[in-house]
């Protein structure tokens, strides 16, 4: 290969790359790149640039753009280059346009013609280059221009072309499913292609098709199963092997497809059981790719109609994953557990400690995955622990995206499983306090409604207790600085409604607090609006109760300030407050009745109270009302449209003009036209009606402002179709689950006799003596009784096994031992001693670290030779390199099997893991001596490479010696 190690570019370009590589700061780099852009701008527009030169300019443009700068001035030249007849240039041109342009770029239209021409080329390499571009650049509009050509290419002589054609159709399907829907038979045909590459590629579009609608493809189940079987039995050519695994990527894709096809379909699933069982049984859990297949099998098992045997096998694999030292495998294990838990909720029981370990792992990724799992297994018995954990974590992170996510999860769980009102309010307070600006406003409305309505019990005492506990907690929180706006709104509303309800706090105390709040957050108009309305309510309640209203001076000044506010809404509210205060008790009670926030406001949608008025108007000669449907004359379309409108309401972006407001509006302004008739449609009339309606809608907006509070509450009620948080339901749920848990515990750990589960309280007491972790496990999994009993039944066993572990013999400090046992506990009952040993592990941080240290120790010892030799690594490296070289050269001569032995990879891994340490300590020594020895496949080659590099002036600096380090060991 001529390209090996050769740097075919000009000195100028190499210098550029070099100078950017040596740039000390981002600013310096930017300066260099900007200078380069100027140069390119000048050069590229010169006339008669030789092709070779032009090609390099385009590559330099690519480089500039890769570094994040704008190279759009050169796009047109890249497009031109695709027109070139020379394949060399054409290929560069296509590469550049695929990297530069998204499929909505204006220049695409200039390329389509060239692509069409190239797709017809005799040279399959030209066709391939064009197909690469097709996948990236052809958009929905231009699909028809190339589609027939691509369909033709499906039966091209070269498998590379067929494969890319399939992939191109796949990309079309993604962009516009309807464009290729008539070509499904072609995909089916390609599934039987002679070339495994084409078959493998065909699985991609089929996967998407089946994902969208599995039903038309049920007949393929047998074919997929037989393909998978053949692949797994090593029937594909050796070149598809990957680390001795037969075509793993194809296997995974097939498993994914089977998962879709078998989902909720018993007969189809039954076809798959054998082959999936075989794959799991033969699965190689020592290599990463083997685990990838195992994991995919678990996913498939959890998706198809369940089969006890397969579930058992899957559970075994999960156990292996969770027990592994690799974080990646733990992560996959947790994920798989989350999938399987829906089918067999008991499987989590045996892994509780492993799950807790993952939860307390310093690795965020793992932690989040574990939260995902906990979310799936939350029930009313463990909701408190889980939500507390989630909130704790939520407070500790700064990533807004995830914070929002986990906050909404907390809210959801709290609403569904809250054990008590008090807890619910406390939890919501915490969520609002720490992520208030990130949660959906609906959540706030939910909370207000809950406080207003209670959990649905008919106990008035509980109601008022709930409310006063809410009021108390808010009065406490109110003083804290910088509360989120949404939370303040809730606080204002609750204080307004219930602040004085239980008589504990005087009106002046509450109003004072409200005024303080409005003052402290004077930039926040919504909070101010809530505050002033709350004031109105409190005064109204006072007046209704027959007490005299003494307005605090600060309240007075607040009201005055708001009377002159720029916001009409605030003004309106302030005026309302003033008006209400001036009324007598009876009137006030009618306007703002006490504790009526959750009473339904009955809306007379027919507006029957206007009938008399309308009758009168019609009699005096007014035009009768013609409904909108009749006005437009097409009942169906308008129905359709209204449906449409609902949809657009959901999505948020609407592409049509806003429609005229509906029902109540016309009645208010043009009541004349209200009564319905079936008369013909006078067009001008409808226009007129629309106009007035639009005007009226403006008027209405201010209307809503005035009565906003009420309207909002109304909206709130509507938003909550089903009360999901009613605790009686959830508690009954949990009781139904409990016995199930009790029974299965017996299944899982056979040593335990089947006793009924202890009551929650007694369990808690027992837990007091347990180490922290077991407690947590118990509260999460509800399995404390089990661990408890385990402790008593067998105490010696695990100790022995712990001693057997090699780690322990290495470092026998006490915490290590504990952690060793901890991992064992997953299967083995913990000894009584654990209680003592467990004490130091309370924080869980030390044990999490220690196993690593042990592991590092192991690694170090096994690789120490490599590390210590690194200066003269030649001794060790060239052997492997030599072997490696051998295979590559034989490959060059005619394509022998390139099969990197697993040993090779192991080496790589160890080198990687050591890399950091090595660089840290011996960085300086590696620099020059190592580079010639490591570079290249053998000594000569590496010297050549090194010399070449030095020629160009790129010398390994101590700053970055790794440039020369082989990526693969």
């Amino acid at each position: 290969m001529g390209s090996q190690g050769g740097f075919g570019q000009s000195k100028e370009f190499l210098d550029l790359i070099k100078s950017i590589g040596e740039a000390r700061s981002k600013a310096e780099e930017d300066r260099i790149v900007i200078r380069e852009i100027e140069t390119l701008k000048r050069r590229i527009s010169e006339p008669d640039i030789p092709k070779r030169k032009m090609k390099e300019y385009i590559i330099r443009l690519l480089y500039v753009e890769m570094l994040g700068h704008d190279a759009s001035f050169g796009y047109i030249h890249a497009v031109k280059m695709t027109h070139d007849d020379n394949l060399l240039s054409k290929r560069t041109g296509y590469l550049a346009v695929t990297l530069f342009l998204n499929d909505d770029h204006d220049l695409i239209i200039l390329i389509v013609n060239t692509i069409q021409k190239d797709l017809k080329s005799d040279n399959y390499l030209v066709v391939c280059a064009a197909l690469n571009a097709v996948c990236r650049l052809i958009n929905e509009e231009t699909i028809p221009a190339v589609l027939p050509l691509i369909v033709e290419l499906l039966s091209h002589g070269k498998e590379a072309v067929r494969k890319k054609a399939v992939m191109a159709l796949h990309s079309f399907y993604r962009k516009s499913p309807s464009s290729v829907s008539h070509l499904v038979s072609n995909f089916r045909k390609r599934l039987c292609d002679n070339d495994p590459g084409v078959m493998g590629a065909t699985l991609c579009p089929l996967f998407d098709l089946i994902n969208d609608d599995p039903n038309p493809y049920k007949d393929l189940v047998v074919s997929f199963v037989s393909i998978l079987k053949q692949v797994a039995e090593h029937r594909l050519p050796k070149s598809y092997d990957y680390h001795q695994m037969p075509a793993p990527f194809v296997q995974i894709k097939l498993l994914k497809i089977l998962a879709l096809l078998g989902s909720g379909d018993k007969p189809s699933s039954e076809h798959m059981y054998t082959v999936i069982g075989d794959i799991i049984r033969k699965g190689d859990s020592s290599s990463n790719i083997g685990n990838a297949i195992l994991y995919e099998s678990i996913r498939t098992v959890s998706s198809i109609h369940s089969n006890a045997k397969l579930l058992e096998a899957a559970a075994d694999v999960i156990a292996k994953f969770l027990k592994s030292d690799s974080h990646n495998l733990k992560y996959m294990g947790i994920d798989a557990l989350g999938r399987l838990i829906k089918l067999s909720p008991l499987i989590a029981e045996q892994h509780q400690l492993a799950v807790i370990d993952c939860l307390e792992d310093p690795d965020d990724t793992l932690k989040r995955k574990t939260f995902e799992l906990l979310y799936k297994m939350t029930k009313s018995s463990n909701v408190e622990v889980i939500v507390d954990r989630m909130i704790e974590y939520m407070i500790s992170i700064s990533d807004d995206h995830y914070k929002t996510y986990i906050a909404s999860r907390c809210v959801e769980l709290a609403e569904q499983f809250a054990p008590s009102n008090h807890w619910f309010i406390q939890t919501m307070n915490k969520v609002f306090e720490h992520a208030g600006d990130l949660v959906n406003i609906k959540v706030a409305h939910n909370l207000m409604r809950l406080i207003a309505e209670g959990f649905g019990e008919d106990d008035d005492a509980a109601y008022s207790q709930l409310r006063s506990s809410a009021v108390e907690s808010y009065l406490r929180i109110i003083g804290e600085p910088k509360l989120p706006s949404v939370f303040l709104q809730v606080i204002c509303w609750v204080l307004g409604e219930y602040g004085t309800a239980d008589g504990k706090h005087s009106a002046s105390y509450i109003t004072g607090k409200l005024c303080d709040m409005a003052e402290a957050y004077s930039n926040d108009e919504i909070v101010k609006a809530y505050a002033i309305t709350a004031l109105t309510k409190i005064y109204a309640f006072e007046i209704a109760a027959g007490r005299k209203v003494d307005m605090l001076s600060e309240c007075q000044s607040l009201v005055e300030e708001l009377l002159a506010s720029h916001s009409t809404d605030l003004q309106q509210r302030a005026y309302e407050l003033q008006a209400v205060i001036g009324l007598d008790a009876r009137a006030v009670e009618a306007i703002l009745p006490h504790d009526a926030s959750c009473e339904d406001i009955e809306v007379d949608k027919n507006l029957s109270f206007l009938n008399g008025y309308i009758q009168q108007s019609i009699e005096s000669g007014a035009m009768p009302y013609i409904s909108e449907n009749e006005r437009s004359g097409m009942v169906n379309t308008s129905n359709f449209r209204s449906h449409d409108q609902q949809e657009s309401g959901q999505h948020g972006l609407r592409f049509e003009a806003y429609e005229v407001p509906k029902a109540p509006v016309p009645s208010k302004v043009t009541p004349v036209s209200l009564s319905s008739t079936t008369d013909l449609v006078p067009v001008p009339e409808s226009l007129y009606a629309r106009e007035t309606q639009q005007i009226s809608s403006v008027g209405l907006a201010s209307d809503t402002g005035s009565s906003e509070l009420k309207l909002r509450l109304d909206g709130v009620q509507k938003k909550w179709g089903k009360p999901t948080y009613s605790s009686p339901a959830s508690s009954s749920n949990s009781t139904s689950q409990n016995p199930v848990n009790g029974v299965t515990k017996v299944d899982v750990a056979t040593t335990i006799n089947s006793k009924a589960r202890d009551s929650y309280d007694s369990r808690k007491q027992q837990n007091e003596i347990d180490p922290e972790k077991q407690k947590l496990a118990a509260s999460l999994f509800g399995g404390s009784t089990k661990t408890e009993r385990r402790t008593s039944t067998s105490s010696k066993g695990p100790k022995a096994s712990a001693a057997d572990r090699p780690q322990d013999s290495k470092a026998a400090s006490v915490p290590n031992k504990a952690s060793g046992e901890k991992t064992n506990q997953v299967q083995q009952p913990p000894p009584q001693d654990l209680l003592d040993l467990g004490e130091p592990t309370v924080t869980a941080a030390p044990p999490a670290v220690d196993p690593f240290m042990q592991l590092e120790g192991l690694l170090d010892s096994s690789n120490s030779s490599a590390v210590s030799n690194s200066g003269g690594a030649v001794a060790n490296a060239p052997d492997i390199m030599g072997l490696y070289r051998g295979t590559t050269s034989s490959e060059q001569s005619g394509g022998g099997g390139y099969n990197p032995a697993s040993g090779d990879n192991l080496n790589l891994l160890s080198e990687l893991s050591n890399a950091a340490a090595v660089r840290g300590t011996t960085g300086a020594t590696i620099v020059s001596p190592l580079s010639p020895s490591v570079k290249g496949a053998n000594a000569k080659d590496s010297l050549e490479k090194d010399a070449k590099v030095r020629q160009m002036g790129v010398t390994p600096t101590s700053q970055n010696p790794n440039l020369f380090r082989d990526l693969l060991g």
């Binding site: 020379n86 993604r174 598809y240 995974i252 790719i289 990646n328 490959e891 496949a937 790794n962």
Partner: protein, 161 residues
């Protein structure tokens, strides 16, 4: 589906970017900035996966170079990890013990190789041999094109005009 492939050095320098989903230039810079912050700061031995804006990013470090692929939430992380390794093995075979420097100076070749491996965000070929054969075919054609740049192809081109 793979949304993008990213090669960043230990120092946060971009060595290769390939976008399979539409991103504007601005978004691209932002993605790179954010991700390099997240990934480069992760300790060794942690998961090779990062959950990021509803997607997952699978990364692996080879010497001083991080290979990252952004995938859907539903994809198989371990598989993608092996795709990365697959890519590196192919690069290694092509360049002959590939090192970061090879990719710096021959980044366009790395792109050509990637184009034979992934297409439209999906793995199109899992046989190293097939990929190598295709790249070799293209290279040999380029070689001959270089030699005959002024002769044959030009003559044909002119004749067909």
């Amino acid at each position: 589906m793979i949304h993008f492939v990213l090669l960043i050095s230990r120092q946060g320098k971009v060595r290769l970017t390939k976008w399979y989903s539409p991103y504007t230039q601005k978004e691209r810079s932002k993605v790179i900035r954010e991700l390099s912050g997240v990934i480069l700061s992760r300790a060794p031995k942690l998961c090779n996966f990062v959950e990021w804006r509803g997607h997952k990013v699978v990364y692996k470090r080879y010497a001083s170079l991080y290979f990252c692929m952004c995938i859907d939430d539903t994809d198989n992380e371990l598989e993608v990890l092996e795709m990365i390794h697959h890519f590196v093995e192919i690069l290694d075979r092509y360049f002959g013990s590939v090192c970061e420097l090879d990719l710096i100076f021959n980044f366009h070749k790395a792109y050509y190789i990637l184009d034979e491996l992934l297409i439209a965000g999906e793995l199109q070929e899992s046989s190293k041999k097939t990929v190598a054969r295709l790249i070799a075919a293209q290279d040999s054609l380029v070689e001959t094109a270089k030699e005959e740049a002024s002769s044959l192809s030009n003559i044909i081109a002119q004749a067909t005009k």
